[in-house]
């Protein structure tokens, strides 16, 4: 447990500027490996990063301010507005089905 905490503290304090990280879950469970997450900040678009087996992702953007995250999941592309800062920011996302389509919300 101590190692986990130390790791988390280290991860947080060494978070890069404009970094966003978190996990993606659906019905309380991680989405698993290979789900693509794309970011668009101002005019810049960033190539998709993939989640790992625990559904975690992290991406680095150059811009600070409002960004748009898109998740490619089961042939759908739900999106959400987030923000990027000097410090890294944790954005845990929850996938939900509404009217037959996936939507994204923050945990």
């Amino acid at each position: 447990m101590r190692k986990l905490m130390a790791g988390l503290v280290l991860f947080s304090s060494s978070a890069l500027a404009g970094e966003m990280y978190g996990t993606i879950t659906e019905a309380g469970k991680p989405v698993g490996e290979g789900v693509a997450v794309e970011a668009r900040c101002a005019q810049a678009s960033y190539p998709a990063v993939k989640t790992d087996k625990s559904g975690a992702y992290h991406l680095v953007v150059q811009e600070k301010g409002k960004c748009h995250l898109t998740v490619r999941y089961k042939n759908q592309s739900p999106a959400i507005d987030v923000a990027s800062y000097d410090e890294g920011v944790q954005v845990d996302l929850v996938l939900e089905i509404k009217d037959g389509s996936y939507t994204l919300r923050r945990k």
């Binding site: 905490m5 304090s13 800062y85 945990k107």
Partner: protein, 293 residues
Amino acid sequence: MPQPKDGWDKLGIFLHPLGGLLTAISVAVVGLAGSQVIDRQQAKSTDARLYSELMSQRELAESTLRKDMLVSVIQSYLAPKEGSIDAHLLQLELLAYNFHDSLNLKPLFVDLSQQLRIHPGPGREEQHRRLKRIAREIADRQRFALELRGDSFRRTVDLQELAAQGKAGLALDPATVAVENVRSEINLRVLRADPSLQTIQVRLEVRPGAVDPGKTPEVTRAEFEVGFFDFPMIDSTHLANGQRCAVLLSAFGQETAELTTVCFPGEYASLKDRPYYDEVVDQLRSRASGSEH
């Protein structure tokens, strides 16, 4: 005329002295085993006593060291000196890393931050960054510890939208947290933001789910200011069910700010935040009734 002895009589004659011998052996074995058990228990209790004495001595030595350190650092911190901001930063860093879970260091952080603003000079920006880095590291450390026992969620505050809303403030998306099998709905309303001081005024509303079907859960409401120098273990809102919720400012940008809300069991609040007596009695009663069922 004596009757002739049958096999059973002969066996009885043979076993009679043997029975006495067996009884004597049994008593000796039981006595020996009993004394061994008693010896072992005594050895265990001596070990336990020795361990507890060693632990108490170590605790005492550590407490004395911490007390001496606290007095020394606080005295030198509060001594009026000119141009000693670097020394103050170092002293505050020492205090923060060693006493962050038992002392509210916000006044010292705020004071030093003000000093840095009032007395501009070379290296001030770096000093301010260092001050914020210490506060962030302590807040993150506390948050991680609390998240392991509680639940949390994060929200982004759109500062332009907040300004457009005026005095009504901006309601953030509600969230449900689960702490110790109690689910609570958390509503946050941001009332105003101060970009120069990087603080946000929030109203927190917590509606715990009903544990007892016959009882309506009490809603907790609190309004407070959140800045980078607020630490969740020290500065949290005491809920009616004994749990705590704290709101942290995780980031503050030009257009947006980031708030993290963490709710956790009351046992993990700092030493200075003691539970109310009736709350302790209620908890003991509910545990006792729970063990009966």
